[in-house]
Subunit: 265 residues, 4 copies
């Protein structure tokens, strides 16, 4: 599957990094430049934020999309952002290189059908209450409409254990790789719920067979408007990538090269 | 909270019964007449069906709504049906006395906000991966838009146990009754996943404090187009209500009276 | 199944109440007298306490058994206490009318086999990580040795939900009643983890089909050496029984009569 | 921590492999020779088998221990075997280089205290219903008696997901490595429940930080008397180790060298 000029699901791991929520142009520039320099092929950032409470920060919406478009045009970096409702789809697809469907919408079959009509790759996150088999069924809603560019993403499931926020299900990654040709990414940030655990979970996900990563990075996590506890600093992200590099090689995979200017060779 | 002329959340239990999916006018008439005769204040039936697989029966859609409208006009029986997308809301609200939000949409904040603007009571089902606290947060999305008529519904959560399809969380019913003034219903059918277990789970839910029930009833369960295993026959439903009647009285609650003609006194 | 002169599993519910841990003769007398007056056929109290941490109170051991024996001889009240190791079995069986196997020992097949040789009824609690089917298998270890007096007990399982300490699985109670002739009790105290939720869970368990209850009662819960949060006062226990009485009747069951003197008619 | 002449918890991974249950001298010889040749520092094999049902194969008991002793004396290979009851401890400790406490006994505080008095390292497996924090508490029961040689082992927990038999909790491995100095092993075989998933789970566990592995290997899995579905053939085990070798190196760890004769250099 080609995203930009990257063959996702092949030898090279696909790395998406960036803030949970788009907050400002300066934030996108600072985070985007550093994660790109470290090797991330795409920047993620949410304009629409699905929050548990209606009183929590809900994202910058249209303004966030405009900031993302400006960032993309200026840098040429790929961008990934979430679409939460079919009514937003045209506006989001006009900016995003990859449409993200969040865990809370994995069962939203109307939204799945809508992105199935879009001409954009879809990053489909597993609901934290869904089986891996149900994730495949959800992907079918998209595939059945003719959009074959679906990336699955494991991001942790609900269990009784509380040492991590969710339980990262590496068994599901391994099982999915044996069941489907679709690429499978891993999101260790939401599973960990704590920045100190993100790197070992990222390594574990790739070792289990994941074809890429989705990592939360913020230039100043303590001031992040959402998911502050689990966001990595750009330096910590670069360190994660450096630890991942030899592991990827050991698995016959590779990570993108790092460039001094923040672009790719 | 008044629904029709029923004070929900008071002494009288509110009983909603009917098929998972609307299949035909004859089906609605047969099931509706018998559940009403047994004491159900409202008929449920889905025109839009959220299914795990895109290849399973998805409901009769607009045709189903038309059948439901015709049933309602002919009988005067209250009807409850699910809305799955904001684009359907006007059409559904035009027929439904109560708008149902299914478990798979509990986290769909756009749909929650949309029904928050509607002038219809909302039956909000708990996601099988959500905490009871998150159910209250989801209700806030509706309440915050001015719609104060929200009925919560516990329908079983995911756990490792497989003797039932989901694990009915009576502790959440008891906890919710201590946390909120909103009525709390129990859906034992989806939790049980097998008709033989529906009655004990219904009794347990009411004993834990539930203000009403949501029960799947089909005139010929073996031919039901969805959820065949857990649907009760009209006779089994009437038997459930007869077993529930003295239990309700013991708890200071009551069930509606039964009438010979299938209407209520 | 006869325990003392009580036919457990029949019309009369079997109620066991008392402190988590035996602390003193005075405690046993005060709690025992009041729970008996309210209708409990047996007093429970632990001499050996299985605790998560080795640094928490582990029970009075032999001294606790001596206090329990003295209480029993003086009052004639049935007593239930836990056996945690085969080496204790003779000493415990010499005092206990019912041998309790705790949730943490449900998979301890050596202990199960040992009580299978004992001439005492066994109260077998479900592990909070075990399926209902595995509880039946554990009972087989006892039955296979010739001890047919096994009472099963549901006490809540581990799930992701945190509004209760464990998730009381009323579906398992209903399922077990359809699978086995063995009596099934419910322990709402450990599931609730909070005294305010014990009564609705007790009612729900009986409504689901339980043949009796196991309730933690302490004369001064705030000073209890273990499980302080969930213990009921004797007054709250009496109130629970009074709320349970009409519900039991509605289900065709009954509770023991209350006597002024703390004994039974 | 030294086991034989291996520093467990250091740079070299500690690999234990062998059959679920000891079946015959020939089996031990065939499996032991091949897993040792591939790099396993120790052979595992159960003489006492904790089974869910009393009617399943329960192990060869004393005869199994005798076979294990004979294997050890003949080959000098380290052996790991489970102790299920304090009454067996002397007999087991007389043969075993490492005493295994199975998942079903993690909460058996009497057994934990007993092995706390033994002069043998203890491999403590996490109960599939226990939190990682409770695993640390269980280890304290052993440490508090003076035995400081405790190896923790993550082997999968119960969750609603069924694509693997248990959900391997790599987050707990990462968390434990940050909480304790004790070595942490991973058992991917019991988590996977299917041989095709053992290798990716093994890689994931080591990538998350595990200090070693526990792998089920049988010379003829289809005829194994227990756990047939998840046992690897000796060839598949050797292949797993070869895939693990570069990954370990990438993580700054290493695996033991392979020797032609089935011994180690």
């Amino acid at each position: 599957m080609l995203i930009g000029d990257h063959a996702v699901g092949g030898e090279e791991l696909f790395v998406i990094a960036g803030p949970c929520a788009i907050e400002s142009a300066e934030q996108l520039t600072r985070v985007g430049q550093t994660v790109r320099a470290a090797g991330a092929q795409a920047l993620r950032g949410g304009a629409f934020k699905p929050r548990t409470s209606p009183y929590a920060f809900q994202g910058l919406a249209g303004e966030g999309l405009a900031l993302l478009r400006e960032y993309k045009q200026r840098t040429g970096h790929l961008v990934v952002t979430e679409v939460m409702d079919a009514a937003q789809l045209d506006a989001v697809a006009d900016v995003a290189d990859v449409l993200q469907i969040g865990a809370r919408n994995m069962h939203n079959s109307y939204l799945l059908a809508a992105v199935g009509e879009a001409r954009r790759p879809v990053l489909l996150k597993r609901s934290f209450g869904a089986t891996a088999s149900e994730l495949l069924h959800a992907a079918e809603y998209i595939l059945a409409r003719g959009n074959e560019a679906v990336l699955l993403c494991e991001r942790g499931i609900r269990s009784y254990e509380t040492c991590t926020r969710f339980t990262l299900d590496v068994g599901a990654i391994a099982w999915l790789k044996q069941q489907t040709h679709l690429p499978v990414l891993v999101d260790p940030s939401h599973a960990a719920g704590a920045s100190a655990l993100v790197t070992p979970l990222a390594l574990a996900g790739v070792a289990a067979g994941a074809d890429g990563l989705l990592i939360e990075v913020h230039h100043d996590p303590s001031r992040a408007l959402s998911d502050a506890d689990q966001a990595l600093t750009p330096e910590a992200f670069a360190s994660l990538i450096e630890r991942l590099r030899p592991l990827a090689a050991a698995l016959g995979r590779r990570l993108p090269a790092v460039t001094a200017r923040g672009g790719r060779a």
